[in-house]
Symmetry: C2
Subunit: 161 residues, 2 copies
């Protein structure tokens, strides 16, 4: 179960379900797996175009949807720090939270018992069967904290998004 085997694992899982492994899907799966995490549809599309200039943006969206529905990738929002697009990562065995610096955009991952624990608590306390979970936090990284004071982030009408 080394990282590199993961794409193969997904391929196998898809084949099992009768999903056709087209050239486009293989390209996208490889990119999702090998590239540094947290790609959004547009970035994934741009990378995929380098490998196959004819691959269409729509195919990217359709493939992401397929993988998401199959529980093979997770969808993130990263606190919408850079817009409303979604980000994706291949599903890990270990649940983890995503921490986004609202100033520089850096994304850290946080692994801890708390997450699995909470999932179980929810399942028993509320009677839900949890399929997918997501914890995201926004704040300021060590580097940016000092500078933030300078930025004067008063509650002025125009800003970010």
């Amino acid at each position: 179960m080394v990282p590199a085997a993961s794409a193969t694992g997904i391929q196998h899982s898809l084949r099992m379900r009768g999903v056709r492994l087209t050239r486009q899907r293989l390209i996208l799966l490889e990119l999702l797996d090998l590239t540094g995490r947290h790609l959004d549809a547009e970035s994934l599309y741009q990378l995929a175009k380098e490998k196959d200039p004819k691959l269409n943006r729509v195919t990217v969206y359709r493939t992401l949807k397929l993988l998401k529905q199959g529980g093979l990738i997770d969808e993130l929002d990263l606190m919408h720090h850079a817009g409303d697009q979604h980000y994706y990562e291949t599903r890990q065995k270990q649940e983890h939270a995503h921490i986004v610096c609202l100033r520089c955009g850096k994304v850290e991952e946080f692994f801890g018992e708390a997450l699995q624990g909470m999932k179980h608590q929810v399942e028993t306390a509320l009677g839900f069967r949890i399929v997918t979970a997501r914890t995201e936090m926004g704040g300021y990284c060590a580097d940016c904290q000092s500078q933030t004071a300078t930025d004067a982030v008063a509650i002025s009408p125009q800003a970010e998004r």
Copy 2:
């Protein structure tokens, strides 16, 4: 600090920052505070229109942005179970997770130590100063679990969104 005082608290906070309390903003603040939680922009707009038919959708978006930036309301996605709109609730003293039933759309809230604990862990472990946090889970509520089997949710190309 009773619930009803909360809208007043927000008003005070806004006034302090030099934000003008217009008729429209007062309507929106009241609705956000008194209505059952988790309104999206469109729902809030529809409710607001009943109180002031001339109030514009754009004003709703601008007000939500203002309040969000000021940390007075929190933005939720509710796992995008019904589309890509955002939902809002006035910020609570107690952090809590939102649990969404992917079949019937029911939303439950889960309060627990785990969340505050994790926030502190992240702050010390990663050196972040966390400003906003969000935990959402998607799954199936007790009522829907039995029926889900029947639904035959194989990984077929077309479905939801």
